[in-house]
């Protein structure tokens, strides 16, 4: 019996889809059987980020309305032989095509076959959000170090606390710009965590590579050299129960010389 994790944020554009894709990828890399579910009906993106758009035959609404079986709609990601699947959202219907009760049933069915179901939630707090949360056991709230994103995250945490089936949500702070945080131009990690008062499960630095990789349909988590990739892999390990220290945000491209200086305590 698997576990369903919903990735949500309230505000749009903070990186829900990217986070879902990368957490799913990282979990699959750890050898888990993962199914990604895109609930953003009408504005599907997750398939594009995963590079699976061309292989979609059926979608979520087809499954709900009984036009096909679940396994027919699931798109297999060949890069992970049999570890990663995607259930794409419909592009032609809208969010009202699905009811929370139907989603719960669908997710419960998927939980029989997979270790982790990662549900990508649409922005907002209306029907689409309700559908996404309906079947979830755990929740990950994504925010960026901006006041407006944190405000919406606060709102969504309040709503998630009302859901009986969802455990207390975990926080991912995305798109951290180290230099701005250092100058105090951006909210810092501590400030955000104390404000939202939920557990932090990961921080991801702002990285151009993430956008580049998304555009190529390859989740950044596949690239072992990127900082953001490590961050997502760490989140996946924490989901699996490992305790991994938070990534150092300081720039580590200063080279050996500065490391030696640091070692001798020279500033």
């Amino acid at each position: 019996m698997g576990e369903a994790i919903v990735v949500t944020s309230g505000k749009g554009g903070v990186g829900k889809t990217t986070t879902s894709a990368n957490i799913g990828t990282a979990l699959a890399l750890q050898g888990k059987r993962v199914c990604l579910v895109d609930t953003d009906i009408g504005l599907r993106n997750l398939d594009v980020v995963m590079g699976l758009e061309n292989r979609i035959i059926y979608d979520l609404v087809d499954v709900i309305e009984g036009r096909c079986k679940i396994h027919q709609a699931l798109v297999k990601d060949k890069r992970f032989d049999d570890h990663l699947y995607l259930l794409p959202a419909a592009q032609t219907s809208d969010k009202t095509a699905v009811q929370p009760e139907q989603m719960r049933k669908l997710v419960n069915e998927l939980k029989q076959d997979y270790d982790y179901i990662v549900i990508d939630c649409p922005a907002g707090i209306e029907q689409g959000y309700k559908n996404a949360v309906a079947g979830a056991d755990k929740a990950i709230v994504v925010t960026t170090p901006e006041v407006s994103a944190v405000r919406d995250a606060d709102r969504i945490i309040g709503l998630l606390e009302k859901e009986e089936n969802v455990e207390s949500p975990k926080l991912v702070i995305n798109r951290i710009r180290t230099h701005m945080m250092k100058n105090g131009d951006m909210l810092d990690v501590d400030e955000i965590t104390t404000h939202l008062s939920i557990d932090l499960i990961g921080i991801v630095a702002d990285d151009d590579e993430v956008i580049k990789a998304s555009n190529h349909g390859e989740p950044i988590a596949l690239n072992p050299n990127s900082k953001a990739s490590i961050a997502y892999r760490n989140i996946a390990r924490r989901i699996l129960g490992e305790s991994v220290p938070l990534q150092q945000l300081d720039n580590d491209n200063k080279g050996v010389f500065s490391k030696i200086k640091k070692f001798f305590g020279v500033r």
Partner: protein
């Protein structure tokens, strides 16, 4: 043995008091009151208005009956009912009274979009985040940071106060007064252990917590628990 009279008038140094017996029937009482007040011509001779207190003992009066008795007494030209005192209240009234004076502890973070409404005093163990609202008919005490909106004395209690460990509200309301945060707050401004109350010129004032013991001594309650 029949009691001689159901209505007695007593003069004290505070004024007149009407004692109404609580064992006779209401109609009987009304009749006798009417008779008695019409008889006492002595009172009517004085020109100035006389205020009387009415004590009805262990009798329960409905609102309508209360009004009826007051009217009856008021008709006697220079008598005005100042206060009507009864030893009995209904369960609902008692419950309401208990709630109004009770301190309600809540351990929770009030997040954006959430509203917490309390009858009585609120003791919040947690924060009020921006966009969140707490309301209480009495006082509000917040052990965490107040960054949202707090409204004390919602039913018109001007004596109500708001106290918080960290006072950075977006808006403060006490009774009908509203006070909002300045548009630009210096970053390093640490507002710890502060309180808000309505000052003599009907403005909400934010001050150190310690001034409350002078401004609102009634906050201290020494009633032993049961």
């Amino acid at each position: 043995m029949k009691k001689s009279q159901n209505v007695t008038i007593k003069g004290t140094k505070d004024g007149l008091t009407l004692h109404l017996d609580d064992t006779c029937s209401y109609d009987e009482l009304k009749k006798e009151l009417d008779r008695k007040l019409s008889n006492s011509t002595r009172v009517q001779e004085e020109q100035q208005l006389l205020s009387v207190k009415v004590k009805v003992g262990n009798r329960y009066l409905t609102k309508a009956q209360e009004e009826e008795l007051k009217d009856l007494i008021r008709q006697k030209r220079n008598l005005i009912v100042e206060d009507l005192e009864t030893n009995v209240i209904t369960r609902q009234e008692a419950e309401r009274l208990r709630q109004e004076t009770e301190i309600v502890p809540v351990a929770k973070v009030i997040r954006s979009g959430q509203v917490l409404e309390i009858t009585g005093d609120l003791l919040l163990i947690g924060d009020v985040n921006p966009g969140g609202t707490v309301k209480a008919t009495g006082n509000i005490f917040i052990m965490g940071a107040l960054k949202g909106v707090a409204h004390a004395g919602t039913e018109g209690n001007n004596e109500a106060v708001i106290a918080a460990s960290v006072m950075k509200p977006s808006q403060l309301r006490i009774s009908d007064c509203i006070n909002r945060a300045p548009d630009h707050v210096p970053e390093d401004d640490n507002r710890v252990m502060e309180c808000a109350y309505i000052s003599d010129n009907q403005q909400i004032v934010v001050d150190r917590l310690q001034v409350l013991m002078k401004k609102r001594p009634s906050l201290t309650r020494f009633e032993g628990g049961l």
